[in-house]
Amino acid sequence: MNTLHEPDDALIEGLARVVALDRDQVWLLAEQPAACGSCATRSACGSGSAKPGASWRAPRSLGHGQPPLSLGDTVRIGVDRSALTRASLTAYALPLATMLMAVVAMQGASDAMAIAAALFGLLLGVAAARLLARRWRHALVPVVLGRAANTAGSSCSPSHTGALRGIAIPVVQQRSL
């Protein structure tokens, strides 16, 4: 399967590193875009290295006569922008909407009733978001766009910074956009 794509406005790009080889496939681990990556205390602040991330299986060959991926290579990956927007709206906005609707529906009631309604609405929204999330789960699996040209400035070595986080979670389906 050809995994090379031209840069596209419909995709949000990121970087991933080849962490394992498996015959004609590779395991990619997303590099976290650490917002505080340059902070001197990043190793102690909790947003750095301890949280598991996602990994994906992708074909080893990049096609177009390019050499196959090898261990430690960094590649550009892309996620469908509209799928990401839909997903974030569902995950953040749906629980909020149900919570606020429940509170507004209890207008005039006591504060205790309003708190109970808010809690019920929030839990209902989280449950609904979780159900909806299953629909677009595959749409959020990134595609390989190509080998990263030069990652010296944008990527950190895991041995130095722990910028790669995570435990490998197999995602069998690779979606090609």
């Binding site: 949000i12 976290q32 947003s47 990401l84 507004v104 207008q107 309003a114 959020l140």
Partner: protein, 192 residues
Amino acid sequence: MQDFLLVLLSTAIVNNVVLAKFLGLCPFMGTSSRLDTAMGMSLATTFVLTLSTGLVWVAESLVLAPLGLSFLRTLTFILVIAAVVQFTEMVIRRISPPLYEALGVYLPLITTNCAVLGVALLTVQAGHGFAASLLRGFGSAVGFGLVLVIFAGLRERLALADVPKVFEGAPIGFVTAGILSLAFMGFAGLGG
């Protein structure tokens, strides 16, 4: 219902948390360079700010005020906000791990967003009931998100504009933010 709409209008537009109260300027400048990051940040902030406003109202009304511990307000609110951020991280990871990979990076930033603490403190001081406080938090968050997205759109256009060398980057951003703030002053008095 009209009261709730007025609360939303007042907090989101008239008393905008960024352009009228000048809170949350760090994420406002830091995450508004691209529309994608602005959307992610504003959605995450809306979720956290609304939840934390409701929870700090509960903490203040049911724990701090009855026990006469209001001097611990700031400390308690920071703790509540940090807990809400951790809870949100857990929920997003459960709902969608790929989404957490893409947008979860903004969540720790919200812990140190002074707009969240500022709105919580101002809401509790206003002395409203739970529902009005929750809507006030939501309105403030919507205002934050609205301004962040507007500003991100402006900055994306500014990146292509031919501005003098000394104004490139953050300086022209601050000038634009100032003009945007003046524009939002025009909403003063709206809704009574």
